[in-house]
């Protein structure tokens, strides 16, 4: 294909993009067609991949949700049967609840840690670079590895349990406790994600003119006031961005759940994406799994809209 485009493109030697003025209109149209051909050819490979692996599956996912398709079997139109089943399925509601609780805990906590760390490593001093790299290291680490090592950290005789015993808090294995398994997963998520938010916020913090804060300082503004009236307004767009990304990531939590808990104990960490995987690839109920996927999509949309109308409006 490369050769083909080289050949025909070679024939347009000496042609140039048309100027927008009227006398050249006719010529412009001719040149545009050549430009259009090369443009289309450049986009084509990408576009084909998108049709087959993104647009097609996105539509198919919507359609499958109305069928009882199973691998190797035939698809029968079932109307809203899958959704009726979804509404009556306590497992689905529990998965929804678990996912929402996880997100509600993980997003603010991750953002708080990210913001605190960003403020602390903001001014450069000896070792800042090293510190930033250390805090960013978990972000590039696979969540599977994080899950494996944190399974040990949260085990009954592991470090976390010892620390909790020392502090007089609930100890024992947090991931074996149906009330504490979500907080445990949230902690893993904070560890793995805060460096990302920190770096985004740090970039914005460094845009704040030092003069602005110094002026506030000379006017007698304390650290809290300076944070509220100078730093926070400046950071709002970045905070919004991080909130959106973190919410998306939290909604789709899967890797750590798969590795650390397999959705247990007693489905206390059975999240939506884990439910989708479980229904699709253990029970091979692809229609039902697609219905869960559709529910996940709708939820993502709703949250995006809410975030846009609340956080986004203040910008």
């Amino acid at each position: 294909m490369a050769n083909v485009s080289d050949d025909w493109a070679g024939s347009r030697r000496g042609t140039r993009r048309a100027e927008p003025d009227r006398p050249q209109q006719r010529r412009a149209r001719r040149v545009n067609w050549r430009e259009a051909r090369s443009g289309l050819l450049f986009v084509l490979p990408c576009f084909l991949l998108f049709v087959v692996f993104r647009f097609g599956p996105a539509i198919a996912g919507g359609v499958l949700a109305f069928t009882d398709y199973a691998i190797g079997g035939e698809a029968h139109w079932k109307g809203l049967a899958n959704f009726r089943r979804l509404v009556d399925d306590p497992t689905f509601w529990s998965a929804l609840r678990v996912t929402v609780i996880y997100t509600v805990l993980a997003v603010p906590l991750t953002m708080a840690v990210a913001l605190g760390m960003a403020l602390l490593v903001r001014r450069s001093f000896r070792g800042t670079k090293l510190l930033r790299s250390i805090f960013f290291l978990p972000v590039v680490t696979s969540l599977v590895l994080a899950g494996v090592i944190f399974t040990w950290v949260f085990s009954a005789n592991g470090p976390w349990s010892s620390l909790m015993r020392l502090l007089g808090l609930p100890h024992g294995s947090w991931i074996a406790d149906s009330r504490l398994v979500i907080p445990a997963l949230v902690l893993v998520s904070v560890w793995s994600r805060f460096g990302y938010g920190m770096l985004i916020l740090l970039a914005r913090l460094q845009d704040i003119p030092t003069e602005l804060e110094e002026a506030a300082l000379t006017d007698g503004a304390g650290p809290v006031q300076r944070f509220r009236h100078i730093v926070l307004p400046h950071l709002r767009p970045a905070l919004f961005f991080v909130a959106v990304i973190e919410t998306t990531v939290s909604f789709q939590v899967f890797d750590t759940v798969y590795v650390m808990t397999s959705g247990g104990p007693v489905r206390a960490s059975y999240t939506l994406v884990f439910a989708l995987y479980d229904q699709g690839f253990h029970y091979f109920d692809l229609g039902y799994a697609s219905a869960i996927g559709l529910a996940l999509f709708v939820m993502t949309l709703i949250v995006a809209l809410i975030q846009r109308s609340t956080l986004g409006r203040q910008q």
Partner: protein
């Protein structure tokens, strides 16, 4: 007011005490904390860094423990070292194959995504053709659709085409990367048109313009985007999990997860984790700046 101006990111100079009587004698200057403030911050940050590093330390040290019961904190003492776990791992499991699979998955994807997205991004940014806006916005719309939703239909397509447990089945669907196209287009849009015009006037073919003008100019974004795509594939889990069903088609992430499902001893499981971690760690050490740029620029971790 005599304010000193420092470029952003550098340490702020303290304001002149004499000019601000209210502040005179008060040693606390939040823009440049006093000794106590600096010390407190240093201690806090050091503790935070140790806490962040602790899981990595535990992973490495415990992987070098001889097989046996693990107790905290005694097992975290790095002696005696033993490579027993690594011998067992390499003897019993196909770790080298998993590493090769991961490399193929990541490297082929990086090259292909960069090529496809730079071609498309260039066309979207600098060329006019029918359907351009529609196509571009439909690409963008796919950023909103979580990839888990397309997981099942994509799996069915690959399964129908006998792509389960093949490299192409693993790689091909992940090449449709909307983010990459979007970022390429944004970047190329900032380049002046005159550069491409000049080359065309000199009689360059479209492909030559791409090769000799576009590619060198977009090198910075090729590096950052390349790192992001590499990381994404290296750490990808869900797709390799459903598509690589045989033992020999596992990647490092699904391989380590399978070790865990087989209930291998902890030291062996962690040895597998170390094997999966070392390449990305070395790459991170060498190109930290690009890692940070790539990940923050492209948003989401895989």
């Amino acid at each position: 007011m005599s304010l000193t101006s420092a470029p952003p990111g550098t340490r702020a100079r303290p304001t002149d005490d004499a000019a601000h009587p209210r502040r005179r004698g008060w040693r606390y200057r939040p823009l440049r904390p006093g000794r106590a403030g600096t010390a407190a911050r240093a201690v806090f940050l050091a503790v935070a860094a140790l806490v962040t590093l602790f899981p990595f330390y535990a992973m490495v040290v415990l992987s070098f423990r001889p097989t046996g019961p693990v107790t905290f904190p005694r097992s975290l003492w790095p002696w005696p070292l033993s490579t027993e776990a690594y011998h067992q791992l390499l003897g019993a499991q196909n770790v080298l194959r998993w590493t090769l699979n991961t490399l193929v998955y990541a490297v082929v994807s990086v090259v292909a995504v960069l090529l496809l997205s730079s071609l498309a991004g260039y066309a979207f940014a600098k060329k006019r053709f029918p359907g351009k806006e529609t196509m571009f916005w439909s690409f963008l719309a796919m950023l909103m659709v979580p990839y888990q939703i397309t997981l099942i239909p994509t799996f069915i397509i690959i399964a129908k085409a006998n792509g389960v447990d093949t490299y192409w089945g693993l790689i091909l669907p992940s090449l449709a990367n909307a983010q990459a196209v979007f970022l390429m287009r944004q970047f190329i849009q900032t380049l002046p048109d005159s550069l491409f015009e000049a080359a065309r006037l000199d009689g360059c073919s479209e492909l030559r313009v791409y090769r000799t003008i576009v590619l060198p100019l977009i090198r910075p974004i090729l590096v950052t985007l390349g790192i992001f795509v590499f990381l994404w594939h290296w750490n990808d889990f869900l797709w390799p999990l459903v598509i690589g069903q045989s033992e020999s088609m596992r990647t490092l992430t699904t391989g380590v997860a399978s070790l865990q499902q087989q209930n291998v001893p902890l030291n062996m499981l962690l040895a597998g984790s170390v094997v999966a971690f070392v390449p990305i760690f070395l790459a991170y050490l060498m190109g930290q700046r690009y890692f940070a740029e790539g990940v923050t620029m492209s948003g989401i971790k895989g």
